[in-house]
């Protein structure tokens, strides 16, 4: 197995074959191929750079290979990693981890990517000459690969020269040979060690930069900024996120495009509702309505996405005899997914959607009014964010405490919504606070959110499944065994829902602790002595003390 690799940049004025001869003499290596081999390299990643963020690369090398298979998939972890790269020969490029056989490659990709799609993010054409340092038995002890790389951006005819380089690969058990070769190369003229990455260069050529997209809110606010300025910055970032995901949603190459688009919508709605006094009433009303509409038109497709993503897990939750009976249900999902996709594309191409985008952008990019009508607009964002977060936290605690084992599902749904609002506020204003504190608080919130999410999702999915089976029956599905399998699935979901419900009290008690309250107080600069002076809050504090919340 390859242990590690060192890259050397070469003076590309010289020809590759000349370099091969010089390097062979310097390192006592043998040139394995007399001619240059042409290799097409495609770098794969998710659209939101999951591999790049994790410091790994997945590349598919296209050449006529062993066993007639044309594609060599190579998983390369960071330079410091001692773990050997996974290698796999394939007939065609995989679209998801599920397209791969079980093994190291599957494990590596699945761990980072899950159900997500692999997309080509850059491609490089490479002319290569291979060399090897051999022993007396002709055993390879070190590999040297000479490359002259070119990047060809999509839609362009001309390639861009990325230069010549040499990859020196150490093999397990033969590290001494590698070190010796490395020393010899260090002395060679025109050869210099480099950290330059052809991946980065090839991506830049396409007009993007690695890591240029993240669904996280990356707006840096200052606490003295006016509320309307800060909110506009965040909302504009959300509008950008929404627009970046439209093309992918239409192409349907990854379910996460639609997911991120919907997250941008929800964040915008949460911010508008929590900060409504920062905007004129008419603006708030108009765009809240439009944002709700975008949420609404994307819901049916997202629901189907969720069912399709969870299908393998749901199917495997059934007894083996029933699993095959779910195949018609999957077909049903696929057919309806196509139909819903077409409906959504129509909506995306509608005048209303175009108007919403242009007008929303125009408003967000408009210069700030000097004397705004909305009361909250000119206040400093730091102060207002403190208040809003604290208020939403208190509301969450209040709503959570009012939930009893007999409370209806709607109450839990309301609580989940408050939870989400708090999460979005924390994420939106994260740049105003210490990273460490925000992370800690979000982690505590996540525990509760997960439980509420499970409960609500299972409730909605079970209801949806009932509706789907009704539609299937109306569409002419008559096989009893299919409906039996769906009913079993609903039953499983309801059992899981019950478990999530039973777990709620415990999860809430983990969140509603004096420690978490202390953390929120510290974050929002809430002084407990100040609250004690306020008669209203004094009463609340007393109540909290009896349940052990406040000391």
């Amino acid at each position: 197995m390859t242990q590690e690799a060192v890259i050397y940049a070469l003076d590309s004025a010289d020809q590759l074959t000349n370099w091969a001869e010089r390097i062979a003499i310097a390192t006592n290596a043998k040139i394995l191929s007399s001619h240059e081999e042409l290799v097409d390299i495609t770098f794969l990643d998710s659209f939101d750079w999951l591999f790049y963020s994790a410091g790994v690369q997945l590349l598919a090398e296209s050449r006529s290979g062993v066993d007639g298979k044309k594609i060599l998939l190579r998983w390369v972890s960071g330079g410091s990693s001692k773990r050997s790269p996974a290698v796999l020969y394939l007939d065609r490029l995989p679209k998801t981890a599920a397209d791969l056989p079980t093994g190291q490659m599957y494990d590596c990709i699945n761990k980072q990517l899950g159900f997500r799609s692999l997309l080509p993010v850059a491609s490089v054409h490479s002319r290569q000459i291979k060399l090897a340092i051999l022993d007396k038995e002709n055993k390879t002890r070190c590999r040297l690969i000479l490359e002259h790389n070119y990047a060809r951006p999509r839609g362009h005819n001309r390639s861009i020269d990325l230069g010549c380089r040499l990859r020196l690969e150490a093999l397990l058990g033969y590290e001494k040979v590698f070190n010796k070769a490395s020393k010899s190369l260090g002395k060679l003229k025109g050869v210099r060690r480099t950290q330059d990455d052809i991946f980065k260069n090839a991506v830049i050529v396409t007009g993007r930069t690695p890591g240029d997209y993240s669904s996280k809110i990356q707006v840096h606010l200052l606490s003295e900024w006016r509320v309307d300025r800060a909110c506009r910055e965040i909302l504009l970032a959300q509008l950008n996120q929404l627009e970046k995901n439209i093309e992918g949603t239409i192409a349907n190459t990854d379910t996460e495009f639609l997911h991120d688009l919907r997250v941008a919508i929800r964040r915008s709605r949460a911010l508008l509702s929590r900060m409504k006094n920062a905007f004129p009433k008419s603006i708030c009303h108009r765009f809240s309505k439009e944002l709700a509409w975008v949420g609404e038109i994307t819901t049916p497709l997202r629901d189907l996405d969720v069912f399709m993503i969870n299908f393998p897990v749901n199917r495997d939750s059934l007894v083996p005899e029933l699993r095959a009976n779910l195949a018609p249900f999957y077909e049903f999902l696929c057919t309806h997914h196509k139909a819903e996709q077409a409906v959504l594309i129509k909506h995306f191409n509608s005048r209303r959607f175009a108007n919403f985008r242009t007008k929303w952008r125009a408003y967000l990019e408009k210069p700030l009014p000097i004397r705004p009508r909305a009361g909250l607009s000119t206040k400093p964002i730091g102060e207002v964010a403190d208040k809003r977060i604290w208020k939403t936290y208190r509301r969450l605690i209040r709503e959570g405490k009012s939930i009893t084992p007999d409370s209806p599902a709607e109450d839990l749904h309301e609580l989940r919504k408050t939870c989400k609002k708090l999460r979005y506020l924390l994420e939106a204003f994260a740049s105003l606070y210490s990273k460490k504190e925000i992370k800690k608080i979000i982690n505590s919130l996540k525990i509760l959110q997960e439980n509420l999410g499970d409960f609500q999702d299972l409730y909605v999915q079970a209801t949806k499944l009932r509706d789907f089976s009704q539609v299937m029956s109306e569409e002419g599905e008559t096989r009893k065994e299919v409906f039996i399998a769906i009913r079993a699935l609903i039953k499983n979901m309801l059992i899981k829902k019950k478990l999530a419900r039973a777990e709620f009290a415990q999860r809430f008690s983990f969140f509603a602790t004096a420690q978490v309250e202390k953390e929120f107080r510290r974050l929002c600069r809430r002084d407990i002595s100040r609250d004690r002076k306020d008669p209203k809050k004094k009463k609340e504090l007393k109540r909290n003390k009896t349940v052990g919340l406040t000391k």
């Binding site: 066993d67 050997s84 996974a86 290698v87 791969l100 093994g103 190291q104 022993d135 397990l172």
Partner: protein, 252 residues
């Protein structure tokens, strides 16, 4: 991780050729493979051109985690590493009186590999008893001759008496000459007696002998040959059985 021994009491049945080809093909299919050449004759190491030398000998290898990692050599092929033979392995019997030493020695490799193949020396010794306890499956090449069958019976009886039933036995016919009447008869009749027999058999072919000259696995220099394809089918069948076995053993 699967630990699979390629074993037979009898010598010259094609154990090493099987180990070399299966390890290469498994690595090609994307698994991280380690082939441990346990035979002091060092034939697997020879085929892969790896020097049959382990610093500190078998003793150090078996009793130190670092020792086993230091002894591993990369092969010329991706995903495939070799733990070479050493002449000191001839004395391994004395070092393996405790029957679980080999199993313990393999433990640190669990994370690093998906498949460990043990190319074993013939005979039943303490080393074999250690191998039986270390592996979860045993591939047994059987030449369709009377003597080879006799030793297969000896082996299965021995495993039953010692209650070594945790591993999957996967005998298969090796070096089959379909022109010979005896080979034809035995390949037809024996699987009825031993239902575990794999369906794939490896034909007797000169290409397999050429592995010694080429010093490479068969698919590297004779990919389209009959035995090379047979080894591919054999690997698919073995992996299928291992997966099935794992699924059955997996607790709910």
């Amino acid at each position: 991780m699967n630990t699979v021994a390629i074993y037979h009491i009898k010598g010259g049945v094609g154990k090493t050729a099987t180990a070399v080809n299966l390890s290469y093909l498994a690595a090609l299919s994307g698994q991280r493979v380690l082939l441990w050449d346990l035979d002091p004759q060092a034939a697997s190491s020879f085929y892969f051109r790896v020097k049959p030398k382990v610093k500190g000998g078998g003793q150090k290898l078996l009793h130190s985690d670092a020792g086993i990692f230091k002894a591993i050599r990369a092969s010329d092929y991706d995903n495939l590493d070799i733990l070479p033979a050493d002449f000191s392995y001839r004395k391994m019997d004395h070092q393996l009186e405790n029957k679980k030493i080999l199993k313990r020695a393999l433990e640190p490799l669990r994370e690093a590999y998906d498949l460990i193949l043990l190319d074993c020396a013939p005979n039943i010794t303490y080393v074999s008893e250690n191998i039986f306890r270390a592996c979860n499956a045993m591939i047994i090449p059987v030449i369709p001759t009377t003597l080879s069958l006799r030793t297969l019976e000896q082996l299965t009886n021995y495993l039953q008496t010692k209650e070594l039933t945790h591993m999957q036995l996967m005998p298969f016919f090796s070096m089959v000459d379909s022109r010979r009447k005896l080979h034809q008869d035995i390949t037809k009749s024996l699987p009825e007696k031993f239902p575990d027999f794999l369906n794939t058999y490896i034909p007797n072919a000169s290409e397999v002998e050429r592995m010694g000259i080429m010093r490479a696995p068969l698919p590297v220099f004779a990919n389209a040959s009959k035995p090379s394809r047979a080894y591919c089918y054999l690997l698919v069948e073995i992996m299928g059985r291992l997966r099935k076995d794992r699924a059955l053993k997996k607790p709910d």
